[in-house]
Each structure stands twice: as C-alpha cells, then as structure tokens.
C-alpha cells in the first residue's frame, strides 16, 4: 500500500510539472490582460522543436531553450494580433492552437521514430541525498529531472515577480485598467507584449519538458489537451501562482490515478447491501477515460462556486482581460 502511494505520488509530481509551467505562463499573460488560448499549440511546437533540436545537437539543454523560443515565437504572433492589431484574443488563440497542431503534425512525422537521451533523474545538490531518504514522499518530491525542479522554483519566483516588484505592479495594472496604467506612464504595449511572450516561452517549456524529460520521445499530438487544462487551471487557481501549484498537483494526481486505476480495487463485496448498484457506479467513476474528464469538470465546479459565492464571475479575473487597448478611443 505504501509502495502504491509512493508510486502514485511520484507519478503525480512528475505529471504536474507540465501544468506548472503552462499555468504560470498563462497566469502572467492573463494578468497582463491577454487571454492565450493558444497554449496547446505553443506547447506542441515547444515539444517538437525541443525534441528535434536535441536529436540534432545531442544537447537537451539546447533543446529545452529551443522549445521555449519556439513557444515564444508563436506567442509573438498572438501578441502582434491582439495587442497591435487589437484583434479578438479568442480567435487568435484558437487559431494558433490550430496552427501549432497542424504544423507539428505536418512536420513531425519525420521525427516520430527518433530517440534521444533526455534529462536524467537527479537530486538537488548537497541536501538532495538526505531529502530522498524521507519515507514515502522523499523519492517522489526530491528525485526528479532538472525541469521539474526549475518549475517548482518558478512558482515563488513568479509570485514574487507579480506581487513584490515594480514590473509586476505594472503587469497587474495593465491587466486591470490599461487606460489608468497608460496615464501613469506605464508602457502598456510593452508590458503586454512581455506578458504574452513570457506566457509563450513558459508554454514552450512545458512542451519541451514533455518531450525531453517526461516522455523523452515525440508523438503526434502528444500534449493531448494539457494546454487546455492549463487554461482551466488558471481559473481554478484564481490567477495566483501558489494556487496554481496546488491545482497542478491535483490535476497531476488525477493524471496519475487514471493510469493506475486498474490496480485499485474499491468494489464492495458482492454480498454487501446495494453492491449491485454501487459497484457498477464505482467502476464507471474509476474508469480511466471517465477519470480523464475530472479536471475539466472540477474546473467548471470551481468556476461556478467562485461565482455563486462571490456574486461576481470576474472576482479574480483581471478586470481588463480580453479587452484590447487603444489610446485614442473616444
């Protein structure tokens, strides 16, 4: 049982890293006022770009950087369309996901059979060897790949950036009320570009992590909807990095449970009352395919609860999210 729990935890932590990267990036982008529905596409180009670069150069760090750059490149298009051309953020984002999916499928067939040596498991320097000794959680939390540790370190970093720096204050102001920010001398366009590009880079990192650390391979469509979950996660986390971490773990846990649900035997004894009704229901609820819907359903529930409890669907959302900014609107 302990072994099962430890294994589950390990899988959950590993699965959560993707979400951490992507959600943090999306938080920055949305705090700046720009919704990015192209995360899925950016993650895909990051995954393929990172993988291909690693195959060619043999260096997974280069690959990781390349993945980030490709995500940012796609995000640059999004930024240009939404900020400079003031187009609809929804349309642009969906378009970029479509583009990313199409491009990676189109160019990716050649790379499917390649293999690489990706990021190895490691422990933190100095203290790592002791931390992994902690029962149950030690291995899971403290033996991971470099990107996993980077993602974790990014959580307090992004938090500090948003809430304890001048740039972060400007980011928030631009997402709340760009006209006010502009009046105060904040460069709205520059800040929004920064936020979107960072979001894209983080999404690219998420994708690169998938192909270079988590799975160490490339398969068409390997992001498999995680980008959309990340978007949902941001709402779930009410645009706060520390809550995104919690959400990432939760969704990572669900991811891990899905694969292991066959090993869990929750059925009641056949003789127990109502077992005829309860058992099939449990079996249904634990079915991997059904379980894969839980992150989405959970997010909807959170969304509704937040709204109903606080009577304001935009309680947490940056007030100017989705609104393009133009100085001379009169």
């Amino acid at each position: 049982m302990v072994g099962f729990a430890a294994g589950l935890l390990d899988a959950a932590v590993r699965a959560s890293t993707v979400f951490i990267f992507a959600a943090l990036g999306e938080i920055i982008s949305e705090r700046g006022g720009v919704l990015n529905l192209g995360v899925e596409g950016m993650m895909l180009v990051g995954a393929l770009g990172g993988f291909a670069t690693t195959v060619v150069t043999g260096n997974y760090w280069l690959g990781f950087a390349a993945g980030m750059a490709m995500g940012a490149a796609l995000a640059l298009i999004h930024a240009f369309l939404c900020i400079t051309l003031k187009s609809s953020q929804v349309i642009s984002g969906v378009m970029l996901t479509l583009l990313g999916t199409g491009l990676t499928t189109y160019f990716g067939t050649d790379w499917v059979n390649e293999s690489i040596d990706g990021f190895p498991q490691m422990t933190l320097p100095l203290v790592g060897q002791y931390l992994v000794e902690i029962p149950v959680v030690g291995e899971a939390l403290f033996r991971s790949t470099a990107p996993d540790f980077i993602a974790l370190a990014l959580v307090p970093t992004v938090w500090w950036f948003l809430f304890r720096t001048n740039l972060g204050l400007e980011v928030i102001s631009v997402g709340e009320d760009p006209e006010t920010a502009d009046t105060m001398g904040v460069d709205v366009f520059k800040m929004r570009y920064l936020c979107v590009l960072l979001g894209g880079a983080f999404a690219g990192a998420a994708g690169a992590h998938l192909s270079l650390a988590f799975s160490q391979l490339w398969a068409t469509g390997m992001v498999a909807g995680r980008g959309w979950i990340a978007v949902a996660l941001v709402i779930f986390a009410q645009w706060r990095p520390e809550r995104a971490l919690v959400g990432a773990y939760l969704f990572g846990l669900l991811d891990a449970l899905q694969l292991r649900s066959q090993g869990i035997d929750l059925a009641l004894d056949a003789g127990a009352p109502l077992s005829g009704v309860v058992n099939p229901v449990l079996e249904l609820l634990m079915h991997p395919t059904i379980m894969s819907t839980y992150p989405y359903l959970a997010t909807i529930v959170v969304l509704v609860v937040t709204v109903v409890r606080f009577d304001d669907s935009r309680l947490g959302a940056p007030s100017a999210l989705l609104e393009p900014y133009s100085r001379e609107t009169d």
């Binding site: 969906v94 479509l98 199409g102 491009l103 395919t289 509704v304």
Partner: protein
C-alpha cells in the same frame, strides 16, 4: 531618421477593401502555406491545382464538398447564433459529439421505418446537443459564468464520453476496434437523386434557411440582435437576456448535435471515437467569416469544405500530410484578422528626416 506609423480609425471603408478582403485572405493564406509545401519539396502551384481546381471541376469532388459542408454548416450555425447574441460557443465540437452519440444510439436500437426513425434520431440528436449547450448557457444566464471556458471544457468531456461509450456500453460489431454497432439501414440518410449526396445536405440547407428567417424576421431575432449589441440596454427595455442566451445556445447546440448525427448517418455509418476532424472548431472561423448572416455562414462552410476535400486529395496525390489543412485553416483566420484590421484603420507609414521637436512642433511626426 525616424520611422513613424500612424493609425487612424476609418470612417468609411472603401469598397475595394470590403470586396477585396475575402480575396486577400484566401490568397494570403495560400501563399503562406506554400512555404510549408516547398519545405516538403512539393510544387505549390501543382498542389493547389489539385486541391481546388480538381475538386471543383469534377462531380465526385463536388459531391464530397457537399458532404463535408453538412457538418461544417451546422456547426457553423451553432457558433453563429450565439455570436449574434454576443456569446462565444467554443463547444460546438462537444455538442456535435453528444448529438452523434444519442442519434447513433437511437439509430441502432429503435426499430422503426426510416420515415419515422430518421426524424426521431434527428430529434434525439438535436435535444442532446441542445442540452449539452444548455448547461453553459444556463450557467451564463443565471450566474454570469464565462461561456468560453465552460463550452470548451464540456467539449473535452463529451469527446471522452464518446470514447468511453464506443469502447464499452455501445461497442459492437468491429471486434477489438473501438466503435459502435452499425446503424440500422432505416437510420441511414437516403441519397438525394441527381445530386447523389446524402439527405443530410437538405437538413443543413433547411437549418440555414430557418436561421436566416429567424434572425432577420422574427421578434426573437430582433431580441437576439439587440442583446448582442447592448445587453444592458436590452435588459432595461424589458428583454430577458437570460431567455435569449438560453435560446441561442439551445438552438445552436441542437444544430451541432444534428450535424454530428448527420455525419454518422450520412457518411460513417457507425460511431467511432474521434470521428470528427475538429469540425466544431473549424466552425469558429466559419461563423466569423459569416457573422453577418446565415447564408454567409453557409458560403464559408462550403469554402472550408473545399479545403477539407482538397486537402485529402493532396495527401493521396502528393503524400502531403493532411495536417496541411489545419495549417491553411489557421492561416486563413490569420489573414482574415489582419484584413479586418486594415478595414478598421488606415495606416500611414512615414520616414521623416528631422529630429523630433526641433522647433517646437508637438510630436515630430504628428
């Protein structure tokens, strides 16, 4: 030297821009996609010839186009109607799946003559799609929950439900390959004589006509339009925005659901997992291109249908991955957005030689 770019909101849009926009959009998208073709050592001109000319000049290609138009037009309407009311239905794909599921179930399990079975299945599919869209609509109407997110999330749920069903309770007939049993013959759309296209095509045309009349000539259509333009003013005038929101999503979702069943009944014969090549997402640019009217939605749907059909041909003839279609679609949207921008603003790019404010003029290039 100073490069300055001045944007000025246009008062009137010159005619050449209005009519030229669709042309620029298509030409631009194709030109950009040509890069991808060249990258795979394919001659773009030849490839596009195959894609468009061949598709449209032979009867088989035309029939295929008409067939593809069915789900595209129906999901296009599913996005168009809520859009008219100011809402985004990003979940047409999910509504499509739910309609396919219920329609297929009826088409497999209910024994009735075709005259009754097909309408029943259509009804079931419509109700399923409508209800699936009704959930986010209700959440939006009652609690102002953002419908972009909810419709999107429910799409993934619907796809997973379908995946589960065809591997489990609804599995049948194909051994280990996931898929439902085949539809009863009575549940399959008959072929329209002369056109040689399945009857779903007529259903789609009917839906377009109904939507056009609904929006342009009924009170509900007036309310939908007004709510879409200013929900606050509409509410102040006694209109129920909740009612409008529910209406557009229920009807839109129903159309998408019918589109899903039509694809199964007219083309695929049984429900398979992931049977839709993202029709419901393609519906978004279709609705945008056609945002001024249901008939334009149909025209946009036909255009994208041509893309689909031509793209498959491309795969067959040149070994080019069909994913190129996705790329072209995305680029069409990209060019459309860009063209829209130029319709709204005139851009003046100037190089000026003097450094700014040498003599007190406010803003060197003002």
């Amino acid at each position: 030297m100073n490069l300055s770019v001045e944007l000025e909101a246009r008062e009137d849009v010159p005619a050449w821009l209005v009519y030229g926009t669709p042309v620029f959009t298509v030409v631009g998208a194709l030109a950009l996609s040509a890069v991808a073709l060249v990258a795979l050592s394919v001659n773009p001109v030849a490839a596009y010839g195959t894609m468009f000319v061949e598709t449209l000049t032979n009867p088989f290609g035309l029939r295929q186009t008409a067939t593809r138009t069915v789900p595209l037009a129906l999901t296009g309407l599913a996005v168009y109607l809520p859009l008219r009311a100011g809402l985004w239905n990003v979940g047409a794909e999910g509504q499509l799946y739910m309609g396919a599921i219920v329609g297929t179930w009826i088409g497999i399990n209910v024994s009735l003559p075709m005259v009754a079975l097909i309408p029943l299945a259509i009804l079931g599919a419509g109700v399923a799609g409508g209800l699936w869209a009704g959930i986010p609509a209700y959440l939006r109407a009652k609690w102002d929950v953002n419908e972009i997110i909810t419709t999107l999330l429910l799409t993934f749920v619907a796809v997973q439900i379908a995946s589960y069903l065809v591997r489990g309770p609804m599995q049948g007939g194909l051994g280990n390959i996931p898929g439902s049993a085949e539809l009863l013959d009575a549940a399959k759309y008959p072929t329209i004589p002369v056109l040689e296209v399945h009857a779903g095509f007529l259903v789609a045309l009917l839906a377009v006509a109904v939507t056009a009349v609904l929006v342009a000539r009924t009170r509900m259509g007036f309310e939908v339009t007004f709510v879409g333009s200013n929900p606050l003013a509409a509410a102040q005038a006694g209109m129920s925005t909740a009612r409008v929101y529910l209406f557009v999503f229920l009807v839109g979702g129903a159309f998408a659901g019918i589109g899903g069943f039509s694809e199964i009944s007219g083309v695929q014969g049984r429900l398979r997992p992931a049977f839709s090549p993202d029709y419901g997402f393609t519906a978004i640019p279709i609705a945008l291109l056609g945002r001024n009217g249901a008939v334009r939605v149909l025209l946009a749907a036909i255009f994208f249908a041509v893309l689909f059909v031509g793209g498959s041909r491309l795969e067959v003839s040149y070994g080019v991955p069909a994913a190129l279609i996705d790329v072209i679609q995305a680029l069409v949207i990209l060019c459309l957005i860009t063209a829209e921008f130029f319709k709204r603003y005139s851009v003046d790019v100037a190089l000026d030689d003097e450094p700014a404010a040498a003599d007190g003029e406010p803003g060197g290039a003002a």
